[in-house]
Symmetry: C2
Subunit: 195 residues, 2 copies
């Protein structure tokens, strides 16, 4: 069992729920670092994966065609994904040992399940999330609701493959918040208070 | 769409999680009524079901043998359960219209999903819940962990049959709290503050 003396806040979140924003705001209030894209870069460097390759392989990996032969490609994908997962686990454990922090995404709550961390989940109704992604990330030509559903599907597959747990199950978290109904500020206040 | 001007707190909870205690304490802090057993009595009287019959039919209904002929019994059970559900819906809507209150269990969050209510879920690890039910309800001769698992199974079936939703899914609630890790007092404080 891996025990930490530090306090870590992990945030698992639905796309467009504002989970990353909430993480950054809580971290800012508490004066601790928030790891998100930084985390990808760190584990990429640690494991020898180039940043681009990590970004490509990650959640979208099933759709990528990196190799010409299809059967070979599938085997390589599985191998690379597992290597990526191991590198990511190592990076998250290392970050968690460096001191109190907020970690958004990357199944960090699962990886740190035996550590002294507060595991949180941020979700919201898909119509509210569709509106938010257009505001935050802009239009892409694709229907925002379809972008939400595609991303939800990929994250669900990723989460379940690597954790063996049901995605969005309240039992996986100490606290789960509906940011659409409660509002981002209320979520930030509750988490900063608990941390 | 059914709109309330009152504030209602609904608590869905795992057996032994302390959800009922949390509901009663929040209601006490806020000076509003908490409906639990009272609710059964009320809808029983409203619908003409006797209190004993309601208690028997409720979550345990699948196990009861009220009629001698098995096929006939199954049909009667389905009929009575549906009638009970309708009576319960009516009672919860009526209670919700009477003023601010806390309602524990009975799928009230689902029934009041279009109303101005805060839907909460209280859960905890099964080992902690097994310990708690012995403290609160006493020994029964049956293994506490087995009591927890049997009750979880019945509640899950009941919830899914009547709401069509996955039991324990964070998306069904505005806030879901792990009372085992956070502690009952922290849960009470967060909910009283939000309400």
């Amino acid at each position: 069992v891996f025990i930490l003396n530090n306090r870590i806040l992990t945030i698992s979140r639905q796309f467009g729920s504002g989970g990353r924003t909430i993480g950054k705001e809580v971290a800012s209030i508490l004066g601790v670092p928030c790891y998100d894209q930084e985390l990808i870069e760190l584990f990429a460097k640690e494991s020898g994966f180039s940043e681009n390759m990590v970004a490509e392989l990650d959640e979208h990996s099933a759709k990528r065609k990196l190799f010409s032969d299809r059967a070979n490609q599938a085997r390589q994908d599985v191998y690379l994904q597992r290597a990526l997962w191991v590198a990511q686990e190592k990076a998250i454990l290392k970050l968690a040992q460096q001191g109190p922090c907020v970690i958004v995404g990357r199944c960090a709550g699962h990886i740190l399940q035996d550590a002294n961390c507060l595991r949180t989940y941020i979700h919201a109704e898909e119509s509210l999330r569709a509106k938010r992604i257009v505001e935050v990330y802009g239009e892409t030509g694709e229907d925002p609701l379809q972008r939400i559903r595609d991303k939800d599907k990929r994250r669900k597959e990723y989460y379940q493959r690597y954790t063996g747990k049901k995605c969005g199950d309240a039992a996986n978290f100490h606290i789960a918040l509906d940011s659409g109904s409660l509002g981002i500020d209320t979520c930030v206040n509750i988490l900063a208070h608990l941390f």
